[in-house]
Symmetry: C2
Subunit: 444 residues, 2 copies
Amino acid sequence: MRDAAVYTGRAAVRAGVLVTGTEVLTGIISDRNGPWIAERLRELGVDVAMIEVVGDRPADLLGALRHMEAEGVAVIVTSGGLGPTADDLTAEIVAEFCGREMVLDEQLEQRIFAILEPLIARWPDADPVAIRAANRKQAVIPQGATVLPPRGTAPGLVVPALRPGEGPTVVVLPGPPRELMPMWEDALTSAPFRRAIAGAQPGEREIVRLFGVPEAQISATLREAAAAGLELAQLEITTCLRRGELEISTRFAAGSRGHYVSLLSFIEERHGEHLFSRDGSTIDEQVAQLLAGGETIATAESCTGGLLAARLTERAGSSAYVLGGTVAYSNDAKSGVLGVDPQLIERHGAVSVEVARALADGARRSFQASVGVGITGIAGPGGGSPEKPVGLVCMSVSRGLGEGRGELSLTRRTQLPGDRTAVRERATTVAMHLIARVLRGESD
Amino acid sequence: MRDAAVYTGRAAVRAGVLVTGTEVLTGIISDRNGPWIAERLRELGVDVAMIEVVGDRPADLLGALRHMEAEGVAVIVTSGGLGPTADDLTAEIVAEFCGREMVLDEQLEQRIFAILEPLIARWPDADPVAIRAANRKQAVIPQGATVLPPRGTAPGLVVPALRPGEGPTVVVLPGPPRELMPMWEDALTSAPFRRAIAGAQPGEREIVRLFGVPEAQISATLREAAAAGLELAQLEITTCLRRGELEISTRFAAGSRGHYVSLLSFIEERHGEHLFSRDGSTIDEQVAQLLAGGETIATAESCTGGLLAARLTERAGSSAYVLGGTVAYSNDAKSGVLGVDPQLIERHGAVSVEVARALADGARRSFQASVGVGITGIAGPGGGSPEKPVGLVCMSVSRGLGEGRGELSLTRRTQLPGDRTAVRERATTVAMHLIARVLRGESD
């Protein structure tokens, strides 16, 4: 009944993440900062108790800060509300929360102005007096706060509790991820932040990936592992389905590596043939690495409509091995552009292993690639039949080994669950795995 | 300094959204339920005060519920923690929060068993006794709660405050979106939920979309509108960049439509040529509708690597007008597969308006489509030069009007900001707008 599960221990230092901004709360833009900050905190061995999103309202901001304090967090990290406009009020509310005065930091004001000056010069309509006034606001900060240098025009802040140990330290970061992310590095090294998380034990993290195992089966395996006496309580294990693959992420204290190694052996024993990544590498990275060894690839897609080509070319440098692809959406295109025998389509239907194989060969031939991939299927919601239901996808990978040395190929017929988007995306994942297997030398 | 902005009024009935699950808190899976529920509540005229994510820990769950109560919400909607395992404890904690006993609902137990029975039958290794015991847990609910029928095996709940008016009503929903979303409809019609939101005034919502206007300029326009005396305080205006387009969403009370109409006129006056959607339709919907009028389309992509074909085929029914496409990643593919003159590439470079036009014509010819699209560019991070920097994209759309009736075409050279992923995605958006314009009869 869940798409991911976590088996967790408990760390000593707790933190809360507070994301501010009505635009985030209303879901108009989706928040990426909350999970990102939470992940960084966990890397430090800090236990994240909650992520809360509130709008730009003083009472709601203050209420959230007090709630987190009540839940016993040592650190609160906020994102957003540091801009020059009146509804940007995080610094002020944090000062109130910490019982600190707001004071103008003149050095900071000059620093911000130095950033603005060239921008004002380039913008003829701008009113420099108004802009400077608006940005002075950004130089008014809680007394005693450590300033994190602006990455845009907004400085960040680390605001310790007024009396050490009595209340959380608040790290105040701007909302735009391109400012927040580099500023986090500065927050990390600030003295009040280091003090606040002093008790945290940074752990290690290992990721493995499986393909073709239902998540319920991994849950069963973990229960068996616990029953067999493995100390899972020393490990924080999170399982998650991503693009049709199962990711198992395990965090543990440095001293608990032995428990992790035992768990990995246990998983290998039961699911060895489905465990395709022991080092956290994704199938995309593996395929890229395999192709980089002197192969070239071309695709011929029907139901995935270009998604596989788009996925293969997502990576910088992919032009070294991706020659191209064809989206053959109509039967005429399959025959005309890729040279698939129309009789083959008539005899077996466009969605068939035979046509998938012909598409793979056609792609190889058209683009003179060493590896060809063919995908044909019924993504739905229409077009299904009792013999060929929605979700049926046939795919084939063929690979020439060079003049006179023959070829390898794998061809599969698979039934994928989900709606049109899910079928299309999962089909590309299945294809990526098929490509990797052929590149490793497998063949039907 | 922000990617979206909201200009908001204030509603009378407040709500909180509580997303539970360590797997969500750890960012292993990203939460879609929180923003979705918040949006549904806003449609009802309910003001969402916060979205909070907590792990599967009793104290944190209870702390979050009490925090929301303290902030004066009339309704709390929770998602997650209704499964059969021990760490699924939302119902129990909500009962404690509301001061209600947990009781076994025997009718509900039978209902859940009826759902499980066929599943158990299909699963030979399952232990029916253990499964039935685990699922009995799901039939133990807070006394006095309204049961929302299971959409998987987990029932939802609407739990009113013990004494009417003293504390929030809690709507308890399961975590999987495919269960949560349909169950929301049942929650809506339940008597205790209706009572809890009785004071809310559902408003209206209008969306318009612009393309080619920087967000800062829209902010300036909104400030001018306010200065010109428009009553923006009666409107809740949210602006947001999505796939390179600007969306302006406006909520207002039924009586304030006049203010919205004035705002729309104001925007039309200043940005009329960039306002491509007055009814909320997306460019994808517009292109699909235009193509459905008897046209067919084919693509030839270089830097976007299949993303445009994938976007065009995203929609069910697109096979009626998408014939196919070619990803011509290498120069050889551009010449060999699409018949682009190699001398043209040599003279102007692969990234040039001339080659974009030849690609568009090649796509039309190869697939015998009425409309052809060609895209060539430098997605980066490598491959840029002073004359042709990363982000330069050339594209062309050509459309044959039928035998002897000539053709229309638009060809553009554009410099796109951002990283590889952003350049590739924005290029598809620019192409979609170019396609729409040619289909509406424009030509260079």
